[in-house]
Symmetry: none
Subunit: 127 residues, 4 copies
């Protein structure tokens, strides 16, 4: 499904979280679809299952997946309540980044058009 980058300084579970998010956001994994089991993913990445467990637990808290005991984990459908909390946590981060870019005279127009583009891709998928 994906590979780990050992050059990356973040903990492995952070990388796994990110890769999973990309798969979900990009639509490769669709709402209510089953994601690989902890054991399978641990085996295919040849790392400790605890590391996967930790990543899945975080993803569940951030509203990306939900798990059903003895059945597996599944992609959370959008517009879930939990997403609102997640969005609230994301706003300070985006503020920080934008302030930094503004300070360094990064053109606002360029930033906005970048956002338009990302939102545009999403629209396409929804068609």
């Amino acid at each position: 499904m994906f590979q780990l980058d050992y050059m990356d300084h973040r903990p492995l579970y952070e990388q796994i979280k990110e890769k999973m998010k990309v798969l979900i956001i990009s639509g490769v994994l669709k709402p209510n679809e089953r994601v690989p089991s902890v054991r399978d993913m641990a085996q295919s990445l040849t790392i400790n299952p605890n590391t996967i467990q930790k990543a899945y637990k975080d993803l569940e808290q951030e509203g990306y997946i939900y798990s059903i005991r003895a059945k597996g984990s599944f992609v959370t459908p959008i517009n879930n309540k939990i997403h609102q909390a997640r969005i609230g946590g994301l706003m300070p981060e985006i503020d920080k980044l934008v302030s930094e870019l503004a300070y360094m005279n990064f053109p606002k127009e360029q930033l906005v058009s970048r956002i338009e583009e990302i939102y545009g891709k999403k629209e396409e998928k929804n068609d």
Copy 2:
């Protein structure tokens, strides 16, 4: 100047970096203005000078301050070459955040107006 939060899980030098960035971005510390010496800040925060040194060194690499041996540390004037590299490193982060917000159906208009606001504050200062 500011206080540290010992409940925060991040390393102290990360917190110091963040607080300093806010002071610089918000214009409290102006370009070429002198920032507190390593020793002074260590004393006022009652932590070890090495921790400050580490924070200052990182801030220097990210283009926020520059240090001169035996003279002190100063705020880097904007439009410095090093800022371009920093901006390059920031773009993937902003892309990731925006993708996440788009996925969660956060309204694009709200995001753009938030950006307008932050850039607006900057304009005011420049007046």
Copy 3:
């Protein structure tokens, strides 16, 4: 693996960096091979682990090694992206040296043959 020269005026971590670079460039340490752990090297040189850490961190920034928490440090395979940046930083240095040699009437042919020789050794290793 190597010894430190306490008569040398440079900081210890600079010496360590240089020796490590020689080992890597000469091929004694091969790509993706593990280098001694921070603690082991500190013990074998009878200096403080922090000094090694500093050297390793710098070597990582210059593209010679990469570190994985809880796993160890390893030699970076060549043709990595980070090398391009490093090369860019090296060019002004080489220009300065060559200008100086040219000014002192050091024969160009001798300089070029010296370069041929160094590149030649590299070819041999690749065979």
Copy 4:
């Protein structure tokens, strides 16, 4: 004559040495021409005269200038004996740089042509 860069981490006298070398190598300062007095340069750069003194002393040792008591300092004519020693000291540095570039697969041809160019400029001046 030139300006100091306080962003540069090297000691001031190192920068002064480098700038003076450039002036001499580029031919702006000609053999046996008088270089600015310690006092004048200290005044124009608004730094401590000791710093200039240190730079001049080093330049003399490296064969770039010679000083006559009560008369001032002058540019050393080329092909002086002292230059041979300097060249000897430069060779290990160039070897180190070239090894590093070779290791990172920097094309030999590109390096050689760069050298040709630098030597070429020197020829022009001698015409």
